[in-house]
Amino acid sequence: MLLLQLFIDGLAAGALYALTAVGFAIIYNGSRILHLAHGAVFAFGGYCLYVLVKLLGVPAFAAVPIALGATAAFGVLIDVLVYRPLRARNSSPAAILIASIGVLTLCQALYALFFSTDTLYLRQGPLPTFEFGDITITIVHVLAALVALVVFPALQLFLTRTRYGRAIRALADNPRLAVVRGVDIEKLYVLIFAVGSLLAGIAVTLVAFDLGVRPEMGFPVMFVSLVAVIVGGVGYLPGAAAGGFLLGLLQNLSLWQLSGRWQDVIVFGALLVFLIFRPQGLFGHMLATRRV
């Protein structure tokens, strides 16, 4: 029974990682930017919700869409203010990575300065739960499942059936060819940062109402998502989602035998194992014709 409970918890955590991982992968595949500031975007969404719900008293159903829009805009802002000028100056990937770390550090410090380093809660009391014998399912479990069932098919449709979605995939596959075919790259960067950040915003909404917000809340989630992208296979979005679910399950199922403090070692151990023995990830063979 404990195992089943851990499995359910793992799926819920996995849905969260899958959302951030796919968001990260959309940005990474298109721009090749190791966008570590994605963690700061994630936390930004959380603080937006906190300001709207707790400080301004906006009801949750109205606060969530506003926060999602603000989070997407924040991701785009980072690209426009930081990455775009660096691209214009022909900066190396290393310089862009360092600037990204700068953005992450700056944002986390600003959150801490304005909102303190404490965890801020959006609501009091325990979450509504459903009991099935020994198994407890919280409202967050249900919402995570619903969100995953709605968002991933919608995203798949967007990427395969719409003009802009196809342009995003073209950019990821072959940037030069995309330019030749008349894709406006700078406009497309705005789109991938908006979509990627929006997914982070959706993920943080699930977390913020459950566990509250902290300045550095984004970093561990962002890093696990990065690992998920590697585990799933760079360049293949469903792989990133699968990697997210796999890591969520791995983290929670490991609690069956090991104490929670070993979770970091397990996740990052998995990263090292994959990087060294299977850098193409689980679904690497699907990329046989693509250059990663």
Binding site: T117, F219, L272
Partner: protein, 291 residues
């Protein structure tokens, strides 16, 4: 005066870390996020060997170097073959694992409480006690590290390192064994970082897991890029600026504003602005950061 000596010792320890980081990032183009870990491994090795095993300071320092170099070789051999972003992630993962191991292996590291009471170095009857004494000791060891570094980057190997940094395929075509050279540099860098860790352990007489995590990695990168790549002077200027400048902020700030957070915000902003407007840092060379 004692406070100034304290700041100088801290600057020197960071300068020695920056110079070994520069060897990897600036000269060879190995973008490593593992430096703080080897620094921590050196500090913990020194603390464990002196406090638990009762070794003298000199043997502990030499062994710390060996342990750091071995750890770097062990990590570097499988990971240095990986392409750019993969290597960065592998080392990120490695440093998070190291922190987790330090916190969780209580039998060896005393867990989150750290290890206290690292002895001060001594020469015969002469124990280095005063602020000036420990400053002189640290300065001597750091000068040694600088000397070895300077010999290394002025040796014939320098050209090979630069070739690897600027274009790996060209380096390979020129007959340079890229992976082997990177492993040598990485091993040496790990050893030197561990040596800086030993200096920190002797100075603070206390080691704890908080000092070797992500914050330190970012601080070291900021120091390297403020000072500038490929520059002995830069590796001293960067730490000096970043240690002395925040002292100004001790006297200003809003109510409840934590100096640590102001510093962090400053490091972050500094990294962004440097990459945008002066990627070569204050006194460094303009290499590697524009393609």
């Amino acid at each position: 005066m004692d406070y100034l000596a304290h700041l100088l010792v801290v600057v020197l320890i960071y300068a020695s870390l920056t110079v070994s980081l520069d060897l990897m990032i600036g000269h060879t183009g190995i973008l490593t996020f593992g430096h703080a870990s080897f620094y921590g491994i050196g500090a913990y090795a020194t603390a464990i060997l002196t406090v638990y095993a009762g070794l003298d300071w000199f043997s502990a320092m030499v062994l710390a170097f060996v342990v750091g170099a071995l750890a770097a070789a062990l990590v570097g051999i499988p990971t240095l073959r990986l392409g750019g972003d993969y290597f960065i992630l592998a080392l990120f993962g490695f440093s998070l694992i190291v922190i987790s191991l330090i916190v969780n292996m209580e039998w060896l590291t005393n867990g989150p409480f750290g290890i206290r009471g690292v002895p001060r170095p001594s020469l015969g009857p002469l124990v280095v006690q005063s602020g000036a004494g420990i400053l002189a000791f640290t300065a001597f060891v750091v000068a040694l590290i600088y000397f070895v570094h300077w010999r290394f980057v002025t040796s014939p190997m320098k050209a090979a390192l630069q070739a690897i940094r600027d274009d790996e395929s060209v380096a390979m075509a020129l007959g340079i064994d890229v992976v082997r050279t990177k492993i040598i540099v990485f091993t040496l860098g790990g050893g030197f970082a561990a040596l800086s860790g030993a200096l920190a352990a002797f100075y603070f007489r206390f080691v704890t897991s908080n000092s070797y995590g992500l914050t330190t990695i970012i601080l070291l990168w900021a120091m390297l890029f403020v000072g500038g790549n490929c520059s002995l002077a830069g590796s001293l200027v960067g730490p000096a600026v970043l240690i002395f400048f925040p002292e100004v902020f001790r006297f200003i700030g809003g109510p409840g504003w934590d100096i640590g957070n102001i510093q962090e915000a400053m490091y972050g902003l500094l990294l962004i602005l440097l990459m945008l407007f002066r990627p070569q840092g204050l006194v460094g060379q303009r290499v590697g950061l524009r393609s």
